[in-house]
């Protein structure tokens, strides 16, 4: 019976995420037009999108372990463990995004792209990283705790849902950063 529940949860989440991915792909396609305005920006879009999903799903995986071990109580209260986890993923969001911004700049220079500016790439990477980091971190915590309460395994729910939603949130935040720049 438990095996059956495991399969049912896994399959429904996987199919849901693939279907969202099909739809979001076409939405993002439209926004991406604006990205070619800033040289070198397209270079850092895939790694930034991946980064968001990775930080989110690592957080989700840690929360899943914590909830199963009983180290985190399944309630929305700011405990010390939860604070540390939030601080960790926000720090990682900013530092790793900045690193990717610099990587993209160096790569752009190597590829002889015209008019690559390290400041614009850094600003866009860190701004979008910090903002989507806050959103995704909150969402991950909500998802992990709510799914655990509803008897769904957070190890199954958080990773896929966060990576899929992270794609959309990150592209929207990069878009916002480009508009502000």
């Amino acid at each position: 019976m438990r095996d059956f529940r495991l399969l049912r949860q896994t399959i429904s989440i996987l199919v849901l995420c693939i279907l969202i991915e099909f739809c979001s792909g076409s939405v993002l396609e439209g926004i991406k037009e604006k990205f070619s305005l800033i040289p070198g920006l397209l270079l850092m879009v895939p790694p930034l999108i991946d980064l968001r999903g990775n930080i989110g799903s690592a957080l989700g995986s840690r929360l899943g372990t914590g909830l199963h071990l009983g180290l985190i109580a399944p309630e929305l209260r700011l405990t010390r463990t939860l604070k540390l986890n939030i601080l960790l993923s926000l720090t990682l969001s900013c530092v790793a995004s900045a690193t990717i911004g610099i990587f993209a700049y160096v790569l752009g220079e190597i590829m002889h792209l015209e008019g690559v500016s390290v400041f614009s790439l850094l600003f866009i990477a860190v701004f979008s990283g910090a903002l989507s980091g806050v959103l995704i971190t909150l969402l991950t915590i909500l998802l992990a705790i709510i799914s655990f309460k509803k008897n769904w395994d957070p190890d199954i729910v958080t990773g896929p849902v966060i990576t899929t939603l992270g794609d959309i949130v990150t592209v929207l935040m990069i878009w916002l950063a480009v508009i502000l720049w």
Partner: protein, 180 residues
Amino acid sequence: MVVQAKFSRVILESYLVLIISAILSLLAGFLLQENLDRILRLSMLVALVPPINNLGGNLGCMVGARVSTALHLGSISGFRSKQARKEFFSGLVSGLSSSVLVGSALFALGFAGFPARIVWIFLLASVMQTLLAVFIALWLALMSFRKGLDPDNIVSPIITSVCDVGGVTSLFVAARLLGF
């Protein structure tokens, strides 16, 4: 878990893994760019790249997260343990049945005019992708735990990047095998 390990250590461990995975995903982008003309010839293949990468990455994340929890709980010991086998096979079954579901949905809807051959390519490629994702996720979780690292921080970043490379590759191999 962050509670038990030192904060600075977790930061360093995660940072390194994230950067490795960012470099891998840059590589996947290059792979795609390099083969662009071949992909364009089979223009329908492009539409299959995001869902197949998504499938592999997500499946790998789930297996990784579940095995990490089991490792921390002490209910999985090694590759040959009963629990590890159960995770492996349930991962395979869910990956395969999800891709069959998505494949038949594509087939039924005629999504964007998908011809039947594209659906077969998708199915064959997702068999390869599923095997790759489940196997590597399980291996990574067990290995990193054995080396004293926290698999919660290691598996999901690495597996999503590996599956980005694996998805594109298995689509090519499947297309080649089916005579495109």
